[in-house]
Symmetry: C2
């Protein structure tokens, strides 16, 4: 192994091989949390860890670690992202960050092994379980449990639309994995053993591309408020029920969906992102008016006061939709994060690293949530972006150029090196 | 057996026994076409036919007949409705009409057997397959195939949301049925062998109740136009995608759903009923904007010119929804029936019968489609309604009082008697 860093061709070859798991005809991947496709990717990654001398360990919520002890008893510099994906998604989101972390950790561990680096911390790579939240809500499940924001038992009991629990879905992948590689006798690190966290991700936006910048130094997260809205009406005949006697849950839902979108028109462009993207209708029959409709609502803003106003407006809008459709429309908050900053020391460390490598860089905010959104609240964290073409995300057409991907690995490796030294 | 009519207690007892198949905790039934619950009800009905001396026969699309030969070689007076139901539906819709038909046919056959009646036609009761259309589209499938409006092969190949075909779902019920009663060696009657058709149904509306009338003589069907609307957008990240770059299929769908409902406000009350009640969203994930949404649209009117205007407005509305949401919104007609009249001779025959029995009656239109909607286009048809409390339909709370149900059986029996005599 090269003592400076894993060669570029190795990374690209590994990335291509990994992307075959759950590959879709449209050039993307589909490996929702704890599906056979996700399990296959996890098994492949377990093999990779073993081949590169990292000790695998899996914790109770399925977070998959690869640990290297450089200084017995010292805490870890943890580096990672997530291998799970949305349905019909791109192959970079999350997975790029896990593989970049693995290459960075292996490279820095080799440097320490050769005596080229005096380690203050041990190193570990992590594949966080269920960052996407498409099969099991909420998103960022693995890092939420790890950071104590979500109860382990509650997370394990969460079910998907078919009624399968997280616990059962995780267990379904255990047997095949343990056949192909040694059982994870290793104990997974806990939060108390982590001193620093670093993550790299494709931008999922266009700021780097539009400004011709190679690296984004993430300094803040957009604030977000997520909800579940349940509209309850009454089942009746679509043909014969008089219009003024209808209590149509799907009509109530449509008023909410359209209203949530049109909320953004009350603010300056770019100040509020809103969406409804998941909807369940009962009984969902062509001849029976819906008795119930359940949906998510997602509000995000780079300005806390805008988000607060939007949250108030949402309450009024849901009430009005219920009144107009003669249904009971109920709004329940499910997830909330504020406009929290990443530690300035981490941004500064990453800036020095980028400068040292001659990479152009700028500070950026992240609109999407990441596992680092959780980690930064409890551990000094560095979050990095590389450009993504046209900012396409959660779509098979998501793409990051090889040179951008490789620059990211190079930078992350240097950041891990600096963190490992105790910088 | 009583030679005048099957006693009321027998009918109510049979109805209670039949309603146990697919019974729901809320007092209704749930037996969508060719589900185990529908198969169980069909098997029970097959036993009933055998116990009452009617020869069972099932045709290629699963229409279930019980035949009595009174005059060899003569065509049939066919009487029936459907045993399948919507999800979480009432126990009267359809099932009441099949059992009433069976009791009427058995009673009139007994009269002919006793020499109290000179039959011109043979008699048959029918349970039409999949009238509801909730599991397999379109509705009125069995009578559509029987009347040549729908191709048999195409109907058999239709799949439900899980990909199960009508052919496979029908076959899944064959074995248990044939174990409990003799194999249906009988050949099912075809359209050419049917001279008259009669059907009775609960009103699914409030006209009879509000006017204190015991019997509705159905003279016309509201005109209807049904569609499928497909909205195609682009999958992207709910958080990070800029609002003006979104192509959100669920937002497009919401504009259609709200617009379809609000169409009714452009016409006088009661002139237009509209609904969207079935919606499928892809990928239906909380963090990914929908790439596709598919829904039904249902327009009905007692006035053809109103329906024509509404159809034009729907086209414009779907186009506008596509433009506003930057999606491709496509409108496809799937089912259409005009404001067709039932034969005046049949209405008059039913009126005479009601007069003779001393039952109050009035002419009514049907808003809902029925198998008689198909049959009346090809065979002289009589369609009757009995009152339903509060007009509640496609809901477990659907209810018709025993005295109203029994008056309907008495009237239908007399109508069948008159039709059988060649009146």
């Amino acid at each position: 192994m090269d003592t400076q860093m894993t060669p570029a061709t190795d990374f690209l070859q590994d990335f291509a091989e990994m992307s075959r798991h759950g590959a879709t005809p449209g050039g993307g991947v589909d490996r929702q949390a704890a599906t056979p496709e996700d399990h296959a990717t996890r098994a492949w990654f377990g093999d990779w860890l073993a081949r590169h001398g990292l000790a695998e360990a899996v914790d109770g919520i399925g977070n998959q670690f690869g640990c290297v002890t450089l200084r017995p008893g010292a805490p870890y510099v943890l580096v990672g992202s997530h291998l799970d994906s949305q349905p019909l998604a791109g192959r970079y989101d999350g997975a790029y960050g896990v593989l970049a972390a693995a290459h960075a950790v292996a490279a820095v561990a080799a440097e320490a092994g050769n005596g080229d680096l005096e380690p203050r911390y041990n190193l570990a790579v992590v594949n966080w379980f269920n960052e996407e939240g498409s099969r099991f809500t909420p998103s960022m499940m693995g890092s939420s449990v790890f950071t104590g924001k979500l109860d382990l038992e509650r997370a394990l009991a969460t079910t998907d639309a078919q009624g399968t629990s997280v616990a059962a879905a995780l267990a379904s992948g255990t047997a095949p994995e343990s056949e192909t590689r040694p059982a994870g006798a290793e104990t997974a690190p806990g939060l108390a053993e982590v001193a620093r966290y670093a993550e790299i991700h494709v931008e999922q936006g266009r700021v780097l591309e539009e400004t011709g910048t190679q690296i984004g130094l993430v300094d803040r997260t957009w604030a977000a408020a997520k909800y579940r809205v349940t509209v309850r009406g009454a089942q009746s005949h679509t043909g014969s029920t008089r219009m003024h006697e209808r209590r149509d849950a799907l009509y109530g839902a449509a008023l909410v969906i359209a209203g949530v979108r049109e909320l953004t028109e009350e603010f300056d462009p770019g100040l509020l992102h809103t969406s409804v993207s998941e909807l369940y209708v009962l009984p969902n029959s062509p001849v029976t008016i819906a008795r119930e409709a359940t949906m998510n609502v997602d509000l995000r803003s780079p300005d806390e006061s805008v988000l607060a106003r939007a949250m108030d407006r949402l309450e009024a809008l849901v009430r009005t939709a219920g009144e107009r459709s003669a249904t009971d429309a109920k709004l329940e908050p499910t997830h909330r994060w504020g406009l929290l900053s990443y530690q300035p020391e981490g941004v500064e460390l990453a800036r020095r690293s980028a400068e040292g490598l001659g990479l152009s860089h700028r500070r950026v905010m992240t609109v999407a949530g990441h596992d680092s959104t959780n980690m930064k609240d409890v551990v000094p964290t560095v979050m990095l972006f590389v450009p993504s073409v046209d900012g396409i995300s959660h779509n098979e057409a998501e793409y990051t150029r090889d040179e951008d991907a490789l620059r990211g690995v190079e930078l992350l490796t240097d950041v891990v090196r600096r963190l490992c030294r105790g910088e």
